[in-house]
Amino acid sequence: MWQKTKPYLLLLPTIGTIVLLFFGGLFDGLLKSFGYFPAIGETRFETTAYADLFRSSEFWESLVLTLRVAALSSVIAAVLGAFIAISLFMLNKLAKTGSAQFWHRLFQLPLTIPHLVGGYIIVLLFMQSGFLSKILASAGLIDKITDFPVLVNDPFGWGIILTYAWKEAPFVSLMIYPVLSRIHRSWRDVARVFGAGSWQFIREIVLPVMLPAWTIATFVVFVFTFSAFEVPFLLGVTYPSMLPVYSYQLYTSGTLADRPEALAVNIVLAVLTILLGLVVYYFSKRWNVFKGWD
């Protein structure tokens, strides 16, 4: 009996904390988004916050922007991450370990930088009076700093996408690399015997093997960029803002009576994330991408 329950008992503190803090917070937000807010004397359940939200054009424009930025960020990060991982993998197979180690460390460097700091670095580098712009101006490549292209706080969201691509690509490669390193050296030789070049080897063997990890890593990046706050806050434009920033604006600018709407945005974010997760899960089962795990 003890042997059976032991693992569960060991997991209990962690699970308890997660359930209490994470689900507790989510549940509290859900209640408040339906207008249940005893602290200000509101104890009825109503859906006015959601109705107001779905009627406002700000919300829909925010949603479109958020989806676009999250999709572009995660796709670029996925492609870059896969490229890094495969390059490192090929490098490892060819070279001596010393230099490969160095490249490994170099690509992991962005992982150690918090998003807030990363976002601010991008601002200081790329704003029109930023570091790069001033260097170009003093070198005479541009006449005045306003000739420097607008890369941060731009309406399309390139600043946000740039930051995320740079921050998340190493994460994606970190998720894929261990899977790749399970590919035996002998497979490479076998492939050669059958007349496969490097390209074909990557296409026929490496890609299928890493696909499950890659799908999941990309999805994690998508969900993160979809609901993170600090980077869009620093690098976005005033209008339209990404959904998390929109929620923050509602939460801080209004009175307590506006809170249900701010929390409704968060609940919408959470529901969309769950739905996307289900979609990814369904398709990955269907295409059988998980067979790479075996």
């Binding site: 209640l31 602290a39 029109q128 930023g130 309406p155 801080t252 600018s253 307590l256």
Partner: protein, 415 residues
Amino acid sequence: MKKILLIVPGILALTLAACSQETGNDAAEEAESLLTSEWQEVSEAAQGQKVNMYMWGGNDNINRYLDEWVAPRLKEDHDVELNRVPMNDSQDIINQLVDEKSVGKSEGSMDIIWINGENFKAAKDNELLWGDFTGQLPNFNDYINQEAPEIATDFGEPVDGLEAPWGKAQFVFVHDVNKSETPPKSMDELADWVQENPGQFTYPALPDFTGSAFVRHVLYETTGGYEQYQQPAAEIADLETRLEPMWQYLNEIEPFLWREGETYPESLAKQDQLFASGEIGMTMSYDPALAASEVLKGRFPESTRTFLLDGGTLANTHFLSIPFNSSAKAGAMVAINEMMSPAAQTAKLSPKNWGDLSALDLDKLSPEQQQAMNDVDLGKATLSLEELESHQLPELSADYIEIIEKGWMEHVAKD
């Protein structure tokens, strides 16, 4: 299984409701006695207490002044330990108190909070503040002009002794004399300046505190003065049409702003960064000495100066208060009293420390104390106290600010 899923939220909701019924009666009585007892008793009760001061922590100077000037003296003279807890926004303080109140937490972690304006109104409306304590403080009774409107009301809301004045702030514009020798003196002149210097002016996106204050100046100057807004917003029937000239003004200058008004800096910090790196030629501050201390730090150019509008700029008082569930109320009273002393207020006035205007009535100070205050070097970029004081406008009440902040997104930022 389905039934269980329905029961869980029900139970949770019930326990949350049940929690809010509990109160600590003994502690409450003890605290009540502090509101009537002699100051001597309060100081004795405060000895050895640890006081947590929750406040906006976004300014190094303010943080240093508290940690290095106030805290050691409190420890030395009164045996009260001051622990500063930085918050990102005063709104967060109110949010946390609301949450603590709704779960019935009677022993909170906050002992002193730094608030004013809409946060005070929210705290007062939701009964998050302890009570009428300021009459107990010797320094409040000796040095404060209690009848002055800026002390008796906070953004139009009666203070009722719930908070003690800590300092005064006044809105100033900040410019670089190399870029604009004669700064504009009114909103009309500012509009001309903006059109002659495209891309050189902007203001932080609302609901940023400073950006919101800038828009209130536009409101006063384009709609015929502040007097009409001294009544509750709900009582003005044609408010929508009355605000129209303000939106019009803001939309007229928009194409000539930084980045053609496509976007606005999301915070004053970003706007100051743009000014420091020379991307824009003007910024603004609700702190008249901020420019001087930024020049001292070497962030702003030496040629930075501040200016006012002829029609005056907004001034307000900021306050210290004690939440309903503070666990060290006596210590909080002693600390607040100490921060209102002439010595602490004089130190606070220096841009080296903070540069915040004194909350005290100069006439109530002794000649030596007055001399000490006048001797403080405010720095080249700061205007004289007389000039500031002769150009003060009263603040708007929170209900207007809310309407303006919501309207700004709709009327200005969106298109």
